[in-house]
């Protein structure tokens, strides 16, 4: 009987440890996502994780994969993010200058109130497509750690370059324009 009890106890303990390992592995694999910025900086052009999210600029949803064949500037922002306010007019300018060349600027508003996001869009006159991810579920796959972050994605859905923080400095804006040219040329 004592032997049986010992075996049961060992089985329960092993089961719990195995369960914890499975949970840990699942968390690491699903939430951390890839470090796209580092991979892009190494010139690897990692695949941009696909998403389908509801739009804020109009009714319906937008899937990133539906933009295959076009270059995409994906900008992750929120209305409460102060550097985003300075960056927004520049992104609108990029959109207006390149929309006829096969470039789509997509705003991804995350961890934000929808109403605040709409006010922000109106205030800065944003006309490019904007999707909403309140819980921020998409961010893990892109390795987003702060707001804003911007990803330049080529026509095949690969990340050409990533920008952590606002693209407000002149050198960053030059880099972004160069990355857009690369993405359009793909």
């Amino acid at each position: 009987m004592a032997r049986r009890a010992k075996l049961v106890a060992q089985g329960v303990a092993l089961g719990l440890v195995a369960l914890l390992f499975i949970l840990l592995a699942w968390t690491l694999l699903t939430e951390e996502g890839g470090d796209l910025a580092a991979a892009a900086a190494r010139g690897e052009r990692p695949e941009a994780p696909d998403f389908t999210l509801g739009r804020l600029d109009q009714e319906g949803e937008l899937a990133l994969s539906s933009l295959r064949g076009k270059a995409v500037v994906l900008n992750v922002w929120a209305s409460w993010c102060i550097p985003c306010k300075e960056e927004a007019p520049f992104l609108e300018q990029v959109w207006q200058q390149n929309r006829n060349r096969g470039l789509v600027v997509v705003g991804l508003d995350a961890k934000d109130f929808r109403s605040d996001a709409r006010r922000f869009m109106k205030r800065f006159g944003l006309t490019f497509p904007i999707v909403y991810d309140g819980p921020g579920d998409t961010l893990g796959g892109y390795g987003v750690t702060g707001f804003p972050e911007t990803f330049v994605i080529d026509r095949e859905g690969k990340v050409v370059e990533a920008f952590a923080g606002a693209v407000n400095a002149t050198e960053d804006r030059v880099r972004l324009r160069a990355a857009i040219e690369q993405a359009l040329a793909s």
Binding site: M1, A2, A9, V12, C81, D112, G134, P135
Partner: protein, 148 residues
């Protein structure tokens, strides 16, 4: 007289219960039960801009007469269920409630089995077989020498 007093007590209790049910939610309580989606601490501990915005939202909704549940539902609609400091009691969130109970039960079973096993060992029948005569004699001699 006693009956009248009883009626008065019951009606007073019912009235106070109804009044308590209609009491507006407390902003501080709600802030302790909701999580900032950016810093992932409860709102009362967070100074993040989005947390400040959520606190303002809570106050506006309380002033508008929303119940605690309505306010929580509205925030879950915006930020998802992770905004709740306590997990949902349905779906995947239910696991967070059930797993500790399951672990507690498993622990109780293990402890029970161990106690049973240990007490079983103590209750083993004493070995009351007579000693070997030679050994008994030797023990007597040793004891006699010890006493002497």
């Amino acid at each position: 007289m006693t009956r009248r007093a009883l009626v008065l007590i019951v009606s007073a209790l019912v009235t106070s219960g109804a009044a308590a049910g209609a009491a507006p939610p407390n902003a501080a309580d709600l802030e302790a039960e909701l999580v900032c989606p950016v810093c992932e601490t409860t709102l009362d501990q967070s100074t993040a801009p989005v947390a400040q915005r959520m606190k303002a939202f809570i106050r506006v909704r309380i002033a508008a007469g929303d119940s605690e549940q309505e306010i929580k539902d509205a925030l879950v609609d915006q930020f998802g269920p992770a905004v709740l400091a306590t997990p949902l009691k349905s779906g995947f969130g239910l696991l967070a409630w059930l797993l500790p109970l399951a672990a507690l039960l498993a622990g109780a079973v293990v402890v029970g089995l161990l106690i049973r096993s240990w007490s079983g060992r103590r209750d083993l029948p004493a070995d009351d077989r007579p000693l070997d005569p030679q050994l008994e004699q030797r023990v007597d001699e040793e004891l006699a020498r010890f006493d002497g």
